[in-house]
Amino acid sequence: AQTIHQWPVAEIKAVGSPLSLGCTIKGKSSPNLYWYWQATGGTLQQLFYSITVGQVESVVQLNLSASRPKDDQFILSTEKLLLSHSGFYLCAWSPQFNQAPLFGEGTRLSVL
């Protein structure tokens, strides 16, 4: 069975500090991978998607970057956090692009 694991579960970081959030999918080769962000009490926004290793497409510009260093790994990062980066980050995967994504448990980020 496929599993998706996000880390960390929660982070409290200072404005201007770096950030790295991770996501690993086990049990499925060449998944489509996605990052989403949700401001506290707000709606969801898709941030990035990746169809294959080494290729990441940006959907929304939030001064964040993403990378896919391995087939089963998706990393979200920034060198300098902003207050506006606070919120809930969700990673998801799908077998193909026209199939429903399955989500990780999310990372709750507070930037102070």
């Binding site: 969801l44 998607y49 692009f97 989500f103």
Partner: protein, 110 residues
Amino acid sequence: GDKVKQSPSALSLQEGTNSALRCNFSIAATTVQWFLQNPRGSLINLFYLVPGTKENGRLKSAFDSKESYSTLHIRDAQLEDSGTYFCAADSDTNAYKVIFGKGTHLHVLP
């Protein structure tokens, strides 16, 4: 304006009753997804739709691409149905991109 508009924004239902949530699109969506976010924040995909209807237990969803709307019907609402329901449509410029509505906060009352 919003490209994906959900209604109502909030709803309270008595347990055992029925309801319908709606999404209207101002983009030429080809697929629609419905999600439930539980109080912990976890997101569950309920339906992935091309034009047509799908049913799963007490939930039924329809997507009419010509009229640019989708509905989610909840029959015999249960307490565990409480949460926030989001719909999302694929972007008319890129099928890999999805745009979410602002959600419907559903509270099922005992």
